[in-house]
């Protein structure tokens, strides 16, 4: 595929490839997940990771932030958490005789919201609202969140007691749901033999900066999607609505997310026009949680695979 991009952009893009390989050196054997993570950032989406503890969620989020040159914060959600603990609080400042807003941990470019389902619905919705609106409102004042702004939320699907599973309607706020899964034996061995991840993480260098990420996001939006391709996306969405046992098929928002993510994915693959394959590559992560809540990830994958296979494409 011939790619005619300006030099400066090309370098940003090629450095993005460097960044990707750096992460892959850290998170072994999870190229697809890393690729989808980057896709999600470039598509200005947010990510929900559902998996067991210890598979490298934090490492993934942290390394992502490091190589992209973005500020990182981690919020460990607990059941006693208040919205203010997430978004920040206004405190009376006697010196200036007024309220001063103290930014919460959310005011970072990459935020890892760990074990989001442990938090109370109030705290959850504060986070989700902020994600949706890209700003927080406290005492009638709005405070913009940084740009780019990327939330990686995690939840442990197997731990149900004392949790507040995210309501179905809120799941739609996440562009993608991924599960990392255990590494294969070879990679796990490499993991065991290799250096400590924390050390490696600390050694990671920023390859890009925030402005370049914004530029790449803009570039991703400009990736061309022909009528034939949007037609295919529509076909997929429509086919999902024909599923008889699901109450609702994909929403128009899901269709938009699908196309946006496919564009970003195309950019990552260094091409300039979206192909059906790009849509198919991002579809499971985007469709799964929207269509089949409460299913194990393997079942979701099976479902999306069936859905994709049921739609013909040329």
């Amino acid at each position: 595929m011939v790619n005619v991009l300006a030099d400066r952009q090309r370098s940003a893009l090629s450095r993005l490839a460097d960044a990707e390989s750096l992460i892959n050196e850290l998170i072994l054997g999870k190229q697809e997940v890393v690729r989808l993570c980057l896709t999600c950032i470039l598509a200005r989406g947010h990510l929900l990771i559902e998996d067991h503890p210890g598979v490298g969620k934090t490492t993934l989020a942290h390394s992502l932030a490091r190589v992209l040159g973005l500020a990182f914060n981690r919020i460990q959600f607990t059941s006693d958490m208040l919205p203010a603990d997430v978004i920040g609080v206004s405190v009376y400042d006697s010196e200036r005789a007024g309220f001063k807003f103290h930014q919460g941990p959310l005011f970072k470019e990459v935020v890892l919201a760990d074990e989001i389902n442990r938090a109370s619905p109030r705290a959850q919705s504060a986070l989700l609202e902020a994600m949706e609106e890209h700003q927080v409102s406290v005492d009638g004042h709005s405070y913009d969140l940084p740009t780019p702004f990327f939330v990686i939320a995690t939840q442990n699907p197997h731990e149900q007691s004392g949790t507040f599973p995210l309501p179905e309607s809120q799941l739609d706020r996440f562009m993608m749901t991924l599960s990392i899964g255990f590494p294969s034996r070879v990679f796990e061995q490499a993991l065991l033999k290799g250096d400590d991840r924390t050390t490696l993480l600390r050694e990671l260098e920023a390859v890009l900066d925030a402005n370049e990420v914004i530029e790449l996001q803009r570039q991703a939006e400009g990736v061309f999607a022909s009528d034939a391709l949007t037609g295919y996306v529509l076909d997929l969405v429509e086919a999902s609505r024909n599923l008889t046992w699901i109450d609702n098929g994909l929403s128009p928002r899901a269709g938009l997310a699908l196309l946006r993510a496919a564009r970003a994915f195309t950019l990552l693959d260094n091409r300039d026009a979206v192909l059906p394959e790009d849509v198919q590559a991002v579809a499971p992560a985007i469709i799964g949680h929207r269509l089949a809540q409460g299913l194990a990830s393997a079942e979701r994958d099976a479902l999306t695979r069936r859905l994709i296979e049921s739609v013909a494409v040329d």
């Binding site: 429509e238 086919a239 024909n242 008889t244 046992w245 109450d247 079942e299 479902l303």
Partner: protein, 322 residues
């Protein structure tokens, strides 16, 4: 019951049709047109009228060309038929038909007829459309989708071309799932309280009568795993109890008041609906099948599907019914 069953409900994309069987016959107008042509020919012959002959033969030629056009309007559509969401026996089901144009030409005034619906649509070149297919359902179970006809009298209305589509394929792809008709409310003698009470005996999982073992499934709580058997290396085995679910009621086939199989299923259907609307968690027990207590739309759908497909125990030999 795993989701694999439910996944089968995704339509049947492979029902591509190469409408080779397109029949064509004149319409009433076509007959009239033919009559007019005959008359014109007689007049032209009688008056030895050259122009009349030419005019008459032009009409004949148009009729023949129109035949090609009419047939062409139907050929090369790719059709897939999808059953609708399950409905109760006797209700109207709403399936859908997707039609793709595959020959790069626009189609006009196509009619789809099937079941109780009839609709007209146009198709742009290479375009596609989705048409609702309403039909009345009969008894519970898999009901084959109605035959559908594509009919067209385009372009001149003198000829009618039609193509009949028979749906073939596995049941869960081309058949409509029909739930039993729920019994009328008054026919349910068991009030909800008494139901809960009556089923209360077995309502606590570990207190319930031990029923048997089965392969472990993901949704089984770890407390149900029969560790002793599992340790023998035959894979995880879960215990099963008569009364299922940790809470809620058990809707048991045996508790129904009717004696007739179908009526019993209707009654159960009513109970499921009532329990569902009451927000109670409920389990279902049918001859040869039981579903653990749960609630929500998917559970309800699963239970109702089980009712819809429940064989009459009287018709099944002992061997078939473990």
């Amino acid at each position: 019951m795993t989701t694999a069953d439910s996944l089968d409900d995704i339509g049947n994309p492979a029902l591509g049709t190469d409408s080779r069987k397109v029949y064509i016959l004149p319409t009433r107008f076509g007959m009239l047109y033919a009559g007019a042509i005959l008359m014109m020919l007689l007049v032209s012959v009688n008056y030895n009228n050259g122009l009349g002959h030419l005019f008459t033969f032009m009409l004949v030629a148009i009729g023949i060309v129109a035949m090609h056009y009419t047939q062409r309007n139907l050929v090369g559509l790719s059709v897939s038929i999808h059953p609708g969401k399950p409905v109760f026996s006797g209700d109207m089901a709403q399936g859908s038909v997707r039609v793709h144009e595959t020959r790069h030409r626009s189609r006009y005034a196509l009619w789809l007829r099937g079941g109780d619906s009839q609709s007209r649509f146009d198709l742009p070149a290479d375009g596609h459309t989705r048409i609702e297919l309403n039909f009345k359902t009969g008894s519970r179970g898999w009901q084959p989708l109605p035959e559908i006809y594509f009919v067209s009298i385009f372009p001149v209305g003198l000829l009618c071309a039609w193509s009949k589509r028979l749906v073939q394929g596995p049941d869960n792809e081309v058949s409509q799932l029909v739930y039993p008709r729920p019994a009328a409310v008054w026919s349910s003698p068991i009030s909800f309280d008494s139901q809960a009470h009556g089923a209360g005996n077995g309502s606590h999982a570990d207190d319930g009568d031990f029923r048997g073992l089965r392969g472990h499934r993901k949704e089984d709580p770890p407390s149900r795993i029969h560790w002793r058997n599992s340790a023998r290396g035959s894979g995880l085995v879960s215990k099963q109890f008569e009364g299922t679910g940790s809470a809620g009621i058990c809707l048991d086939y045996a508790d129904t008041r009717n004696t007739d199989h179908e009526s019993r299923l209707s009654e159960l259907c009513r109970w499921i609906l009532d329990a569902d609307s009451a927000g109670t968690s409920y389990a279902l027990r049918l001859p040869g099948l039981s579903i653990a207590a749960d609630q929500g739309g998917r559970h309800r759908a699963r239970c109702l599907k089980a009712l819809a497909l429940c064989p009459d125990p009287a018709n099944i030999t002992q061997d078939d019914n473990p």
